[in-house]
Amino acid sequence: MSAIARGNLIARGSESSTVTLAHGGGGRLTQQLIEERFLPRFRNATLDALLDSALISAHGRLAFTTDGFVVRPIFFPGGDIGRLAVCGVVNDLASVGAEPLWLAASFILEEGLPFDQLDRVLDSMAATAREAGIVLVAGDTKVVERGAGDHIYIVTSAIGEPRLDPPPQPRLIRPGDAVLVSGFLGDHGIAVLQAREHFFDELPVVSDCAPLWPLVRGLAEAGVIPHALRDPTRGGLATVIAELSSACGLAFSLDEDTIPVRGPVQAACEILGLDPLYLANEGKLVVVLPEASAEQALETLRSCPLGRDACRIGVVLEDTSGLALLRSRIGGTRILESLSGEQLPRIC
């Protein structure tokens, strides 16, 4: 590329209010993008060193997870793709009882993405990371041609240190264990659907998107050792319970009457033919633990704002069928299956 052409490109790019392909070129504009928009928001010594890899210290066992985020639209009531990208991995760590420590994020930006939208996403990400106590130590940006992406995709990876011993996992589940959930189900799925399709003139539902580590830390500090923890994201509560029961080989029995679903979510589901038990959540925790510590766990969860509406929804049975069962209001019983296919496209 000639010096003049390059000069034009740079001039055009720096005046632009949107992401251009040149921002992904790896040259000065990429550097400018990172220095002006990313670094100031996530400032910390490890990141600021700008090495090719972050150097971090660890001892003992680590928890490590990764997740990609492609939600449409990127802003929705109660959250945005940035908050989601942090909560997603933080909650994966929390589900194995690990305290979130380090975060890496890759951004795939679509040419034409307005900078003010990118800034809002980054602000939200930075705020959520602070809230969750996780530090962004590595990152990358790429730009794809208009039409080859959808505004912005984010891939995050996170490392944490296990704080529960043994780490919660399905094989620890025993007959008689209590099943708790930290609050109302289905808010995220309906909030995103409403933001995308505008089915209703107004719908008082916002995404529950939140980092769950404070809830798990609360349990750990109270000396509660859960047998299993899960965050019921895609596929909802039903899928999580079906997976847990199948993984531990014991039947679960849930009581439909006790499962918390907000009125507007229930109503929207009835109108649209959706099942709230299969709707995604991004800030709820399912806890399976010995009956003896269930009351203390409920009290601990409810003392945290995120777990204010925590309640008991079921029990693990002696039955080794590995089925997830739901007792309906009229006393009938049905099986909860994992979600097959998709109930809603691109919710996270």
Partner: protein
């Protein structure tokens, strides 16, 4: 909502009635019954059988093949409701056609078809419409709007079905259907029934008049039911009460939505835009006056006229008993493929695909009840 005590009383009363088999002819009822585990709490005297109540399930394979062929036509953008995309045709489904490059869009509302046509002026938008009387007035409104706006690049593949004619066909002696597997039990004859749990949504449109023949001709009672488990309980109790009292009438247990005369505005809209035609039902065969087609005045919007495709008649997949299940002759678990070759993850017949299909509902919610 009933209290547990009221519910218990209803159930005990029903138990004292005569042994009865009632058919529901609405997919939403099928799902509500399965999801609430109703069959497990009913007294042994009351049995429920699913009929041809799922619009996706009754859509003929040849019609699905036509839709897939249309989707592959150059410049065509085919729009439909979600469940239709996964129904297998002779060679793949609309979802597969989409993966192969056909432009298939999933809509929540038929009015979105108008927007699609508007946004894609160089393309031919086709709306594939399935359903019973419940959704037909809505489609009629969209067709009228398309005509008013002179939306020339939008047409409709209308596969709508009408319930009263197929119920008549079901109760008459249907001949064994072409494509039915003779090795299966009960491929002919009619289901033995003592009454109908009437579809609340369809009756909200049609009212109860078109269904009076059930009592007058076949001595079968019918009660229009809502969609909560308690709505269905109440309707079943009313059916048992009719049987005990020797009555065979149309009653409404869903007064909050259904009037005797139905919704006149919706009926007029349907009559203005559509005319009844012979239609082919999967597994049931051809039934006179049981389908809808656009009237002459709207023929410019008829996809079958705009795209005169020739699609071969297609036999049902071998071993698939969807036809017998739809006619209430077999329960889903009695199909040899149920839960083995045919599951919601890899469905063979449409009853396993649609969320309202009786096989899918039975597989998802009732497997342990067998």
């Amino acid at each position: 909502m009933f209290s547990p005590l009221e519910r218990q009383w209803l159930l005990e009363e029903m138990g004292e009635g005569p042994p009865s088999r009632y058919m529901e002819v609405c997919g939403t009822h099928t799902v509500a019954i399965a999801r609430s585990g109703l069959k497990k709490v009913l007294p042994p005297t009351v049995r429920l059988i699913s009929g041809p109540g799922c619009p996706v399930c009754v859509t003929d394979q040849q019609d699905i093949d036509t839709a897939i062929a249309l989707a592959h036509e150059k410049g065509v953008l085919l729009a439909t409701f979600g469940d239709m995309a996964r129904v297998p045709g002779t060679n793949g489904s609309l979802a597969q056609a989409k993966a192969e490059g056909a432009d298939v869009r999933i809509l929540y509302s038929p009015f979105e078809a108008l927007r699609l046509a508007n946004e894609n002026p160089g393309r031919e938008a086709v709306f594939l419409s399935v359903g019973f009387e419940t959704t037909a007035p809505l489609i009629a409104a969209v067709v009228k709007e398309a005509a008013r706006l002179e939306r020339r690049n939008l047409s409709f593949l209308i596969l709508h079905k009408l319930l009263p004619p197929v119920m008549k066909a079901l109760l008459g002696d249907l001949p064994a259907m072409a494509g039915s597997d003779p090795s299966l039990p009960a491929t002919r004859g009619r289901p033995s029934l003592d009454g109908f749990l009437m579809p609340g949504h369809v009756c909200a449109i049609l009212g109860v008049e078109p269904f009076r023949f059930l009592g007058e001709r076949y001595r079968l009672p019918g009660v229009v039911a809502g969609f909560e488990a308690d709505d269905i309980l109440l309707a079943l109790w009313m059916l048992q009460r009719q049987r005990r009292q020797g009555r065979a009438e149309m009653e409404i247990a869903y007064r909050r939505a259904v009037r005797e005369e139905g919704n006149r505005t919706a009926q007029h809209l349907m009559e203005e835009v559509f005319q009844p035609v012979e239609a082919c039902w999967r597994g049931i065969g051809t039934v006179p006056h049981s389908g809808l087609a656009l009237r002459q005045a709207y023929s410019a919007y008829d996809a079958r006229i705009r795209f005169p495709l020739q699609v071969e008649p297609a036999p049902d997949p071998p071993g698939c008993a969807c036809g017998e299940v739809l006619r209430g002759l077999l329960s889903p678990p009695q199909c040899p493929l149920f839960g083995r070759a045919c599951t919601p993850q890899s469905p063979v017949g449409p009853c396993m695909v649609s969320s309202e299909g009786s096989c899918a509902a039975s597989y998802r919610y009732e497997r342990i009840c067998r």
